[in-house]
């Protein structure tokens, strides 16, 4: 067991974890933060995407011990005082989800995408979301949501 201290969605946690524990499993099983989900074994689907010190990572590719001393932000921490994050708002405005399983990861990846490139073309959005799979939407409305937020930030 290794002791780690992590700030998750603004709350400090100190925990003992097995060294093999992946960040996603620490979040889900030890902290009960089940908003972040697992979709594959191979880091292809992106459903588990969170922000580690502000940058998006697939939390199934990070060991919990690697997050020691860092801040982790998940989909559960995005809305503040009941006010949705603009990307969450855009996802519901644009019908960017159906079953919703990929959605937490997709939202987290989309936020980071705009941080890196605030004014992306459609092609840049599509390429930027290549690491996140969705089986329901055909991606079109997800692209629209990112465009809506980017447009909002421009204006």
């Amino acid at each position: 067991m290794t002791r780690i201290s992590v700030q998750v969605d603004g709350v400090e946690y100190t925990d003992d974890v097995e060294p093999r524990t992946l960040l996603v499993h620490y979040l889900r099983e030890q902290l009960g933060k089940t908003g972040t989900v697992v979709g594959c074994d191979t880091s292809n689907c992106g459903a588990c995407t969170v922000h580690l010190d502000g940058s998006s990572v697939k939390s199934c590719t990070v060991l919990a011990v690697q997050a020691d001393g860092q801040a982790v932000d998940t989909v559960e921490g995005l809305a503040t005082d009941g006010e949705l994050h603009p990307m969450q708002q855009a996802f519901t405005d644009c019908h960017s989800l159906q079953c919703g399983y990929c959605t937490p990861g997709m939202i987290m990846a989309s936020i980071d995408l705009l941080k890196e490139n605030p004014d992306p073309t459609e092609e840049e959005i599509r390429l930027g979301l290549e690491g996140n799979l969705c089986r329901c939407t055909g991606y079109q409305n997800i692209v629209r949501a990112v465009q809506q937020v980017a447009g909002g930030e421009r204006s």
Binding site: C40, L78, Q98, G100, R135, T137, Q140
Partner: protein, 802 residues
């Protein structure tokens, strides 16, 4: 693009409005109820040991090492459960003599596909359970893998199930001459001026739902509560009860948030049975969640067919006959709907065309692969692919424009209702209107001109144009018809309305959504019909305790059957309320009109009572009409008289790089006619997702087994789900020809995109390559296959490339 109508508390004109989804809030904030999120006191975690071989006898199996591993509470092999596990149910014995060797959840003496479950371990944590699998010793005696469908049917073939004595499960036939619905294909063949034969391959596909399958079982004495990521909680309840001998009223099934289905969660899974057996054995809650690689290898696949088609026609392009022979891959076992999937397709091969003669024959064959079962469209995409591809091949043979050939043969608008050569009666449709609109949407004339330019200049990037005009049978009901096809259940759907004292309403439905947006769509229907605000409607589903009666969600039946049941239940409430309103207003029922949620006396302004007041009057029950029970609640069960038949025209332009074989979609435009639209935003979403899946079959996806029967596409690394970068922006539009068979006029949309798009894309790819003498590319049309086809044909060889 659809403008979202977000106006609050509108009670009228809800139908046709793009209301934002009620479902989204918890999904976008991460407050979800996926089964794998569940933690129950005392819960154990399961791991399943799976066969590494396609086919083998289990000479011995020893789980005792696992039983003493750290954290383990129990371990069981198939032999431990042999007497109690029963066989997984197959609900569709398509012929009286269908061979069904049985499908144990845990293999007992023999494994029949790589991924077949052989043992299960229960431990305190999932990690401990997985670790303990290493301590199980299995001695396998390998048997020959049975992989090739034709070889499996040959005399002396190695058998999947020795006891069955054959690899053929059934032969199912439909002959229009024998059925009286048309002439004979033999006569058509004799008289044919033109005959085109083709073999098409429907590759196996993984459903690829994003949420891996998960089940939690909580035992309590003889009862069990099961949370499952299933599409079919009601059917699961009945079937699990029958399989394990648990009285049905002691089984409660809950489908909470379900992360995609596409047919992939429509079967009774071995894992649901295994988790129930373990939970009952330990007297503790048990959870099993599959890994993605287990999902790829052990959750059922879709498609898997060899299609041999012969079409006959006159020289001027009138089709005269269609002869179809399928060999359908059942995989190792018959799961819930396995044998019925190709049979559903039998009715769709004639498509939208007026064939005078039709014959369909299907052989269902066992192989040592994971079973096939329903996958988005289930039988109808396969059939639509076959007919739409061979229409293009006939057009090429006749040197005719593929669209002209279709126009010459389709059922015209004036001819509806039309009974097809397969015996179905299409109620309504307008193929001309949808096609004309799609051509304009795609800019077809400009694309044609560009194609000509590129051909002329020998551009290394060739443009191919593909057409798919389709119809499908949706609204899987009518029970009477399903019975005539030997399906084991009906197709009705139920709904009930519970009116609360404040006038808010709870609507209980037997359908079980998993992403489609039914809560929003049904709320719109109720708000529109009952005249109450959209926000005042709660839709309750997916729990057999609160929603005890239903047949769940598949086959685009939720709106066409379940939605109509809701309408009928609402209408019953209105009729009850009318009697009470008349009593309250001291008026004659016949003098009341009901609009915008208020009963008014015609011609007496001011004499009115709103629905909420009636609801409270029923609750207080101080003064109701004599003999009336104090309840506004109602129940309805709807069994339609016919299927519904959405249709559409899908057009695809692809750019094919003839130097690399790479195919990119340049334009995708489609016009779907799904009857009356309820929520255009949801419809567009369903179409987009369907297109992505259908295009993926054409270009990307294939579940591949190696020569030893190992699945080599066992993860998302090897199995290519399309990403955002692989797909274009779709141009979608609608025509509206309401169904004449239901009061909503709806036809269903969930499968349309998938059904229509695969042939549109492949027709486009073949169109681009036809100047090279190429007339087929086996799906998926990967760069390698396309490149090889070009190389081979440049070198003079012929035939489809596999």
């Amino acid at each position: 693009m659809t403008a979202v109508d977000d106006k609050p508390t509108s009670t009228t004109s809800q139908i046709g409005a793009s209301r934002k989804r009620k479902e989204d809030r918890h999904l976008i904030t991460g407050r979800t109820t996926w089964v794998d999120n569940m933690m129950l006191p005392g819960m154990v975690h399961l791991a399943i040991l799976r066969s590494p071989m396609a086919h083998a006898k289990i000479a011995s199996i020893d789980v005792s090492g696992a039983r003493t591993a750290p954290g383990v509470l129990g371990a069981w092999s198939g032999r431990d459960f042999a007497d109690v596990q029963g066989d997984l149910p197959c609900a569709w014995p398509v012929t009286p003599d269908m061979v069904n060797p049985g499908a144990p959840s845990l293999a007992v003496d023999q494994v029949n596909f790589a991924g077949d479950a052989v043992a299960v371990v229960a431990a305190r944590t999932k990690g401990e359970a997985v670790d303990a699998l290493e301590e199980i010793d299995v001695d396998y005696e390998p048997l020959p893998a049975v992989l090739d469908l034709e070889a499996a049917l040959a005399d002396g073939a190695d058998l999947v199930h020795e006891s069955a004595g054959t690899n053929k499960s059934y032969t199912w036939e439909l002959d229009s001459a024998a059925a009286g619905s048309g002439g004979s294909v033999e006569d058509a063949a004799r008289d044919a001026e033109v005959t085109v034969k083709r073999r098409f391959i429907q590759q196996r596909l993984s459903p690829g739902f994003m949420e891996p399958r998960s089940v939690v079982v909580q035992p309590a004495d003889e009862a069990v509560t099961i949370w499952s990521s299933t599409q079919i909680p009601h059917i699961l309840r009945t079937m699990l009860g029958l399989t394990l001998g648990i009285p049905e009223h002691k089984v409660r099934v809950i489908a909470p948030d379900v992360g995609g289905g596409f047919g992939g969660k429509i079967t009774i899974t071995p894992e649901e049975v295994i988790a129930t057996l373990v939970a009952r054995a330990l007297g503790r809650p048990a959870k099993y969640t599959e890994s993605r690689s287990e999902s790829m290898s052990a959750a059922h696949h879709g498609r898997g067919q060899i299609q041999d088609l012969t079409i006959t026609a006159t020289r001027d392009g009138k089709v005269t006959g269609l002869d179809v022979h399928l060999i359908a891959d059942m995989g190792a076992y018959l799961r819930l709907l396995t044998p019925g999937v190709p049979v559903l397709g039998a009715f769709m091969f004639p498509g939208i065309y007026k064939f005078p003669a039709y014959r369909f024959r299907c052989d269902g064959v066992f192989t040592t692969k994971v079973p096939t079962d329903a996958y988005r469209g289930a039988g109808r995409p396969e059939a639509t692919f076959g007919i739409e591809r061979i229409m293009d091949e006939l057009a090429a043979e006749l040197d005719m424009d593929p669209l002209e050939l279709r126009r010459k043969n389709w059922i015209t608008h004036e001819e509806f209702p039309f009974t097809t050569v397969a015996g179905l009666t299409y109620d309504s449709g307008n193929y001309e209107a949808a096609t004309d609109k799609a051509l304009a949407l795609a800019g077809w004339d400009e694309l044609k001109a560009e194609q000509a330019r590129r051909r002329e200049s020998n551009d290394p990037i060739q443009l191919g144009l593909g057409i798919s005009t389709f119809t499908e049978m949706c609204g899987l009901a009518p029970s009477r018809v399903l019975g005539s096809l030997d399906y084991g259940a009906g197709g009705w759907e139920s709904a009930s309305v519970r009116v609360l004292p404040t006038g808010k309403v709870e609507v209980v439905t037997g359908i079980s959504p998993h992403g489609q947006g039914h809560v929003t769509g049904f709320s719109q229907i109720v708000a529109d019909r009952l005249g109450v605000p959209f926000e005042d409607v709660e839709i309750i589903h997916g729990d057999t305790e609160s929603s005890p009666k239903g047949l769940d969600t598949y086959g685009s039946r939720s709106l066409t059957v379940g939605g109509v049941a809701v309408v009928q239940a609402v209408d019953k409430v209105i009729e009850k309320a009318r009697r009470i309103a008349a009593h309250m207003l001291e008026a004659d029922e016949a003098d009341l009109e009901y609009a915008d949620g208020t009963f008014s006396v015609v011609g007496a302004p001011g004499s009115s009572v709103p629905f909420g007041d009636i609801a409270f009057a029923v609750f207080s029950a101080h003064d109701l009409p004599d003999g009336m029970e104090p309840s506004l609640n109602s129940e309805a069960t709807y069994d339609p008289g016919n299927f519904s038949f959405p249709h559409g025209t899908h057009l695809c332009a692809v750019e094919v790089d003839t130097e690399t074989g790479h195919v990119a979609i340049r334009t995708y435009a489609c016009v779907d006619d799904i009857g009356t639209p309820i929520n255009p935003m949801l419809i567009d979403g369903q179409v987009h997702g369907g297109l992505a899946q259908g295009i993926a079959q054409a270009l990307f996806e294939e579940a591949v087994y190696d020569d030893a029967g190992n699945l080599v596409t066992g993860s998302f690394v090897d199995y290519t789900l399309p990403t955002a970068a692989d797909l274009p922006t779709f141009h979608t539009d609608r025509t509206v020809t309401p169904s004449t068979d239901n009061p909503l006029g709806v036809k269903g949309v969930g499968e349309a995109g998938t059904i229509a798009s695969t042939p549109a894309v492949v027709n486009a790819v073949v169109d681009a390559l036809r100047p090279f003498g190429i007339n087929d590319i086996t799906m998926p049309c990967t760069p390698e296959r396309v490149w090889r086809a070009i190389q081979d044909h440049t070198n003079g060889s012929q035939g489809a490339v596999r």
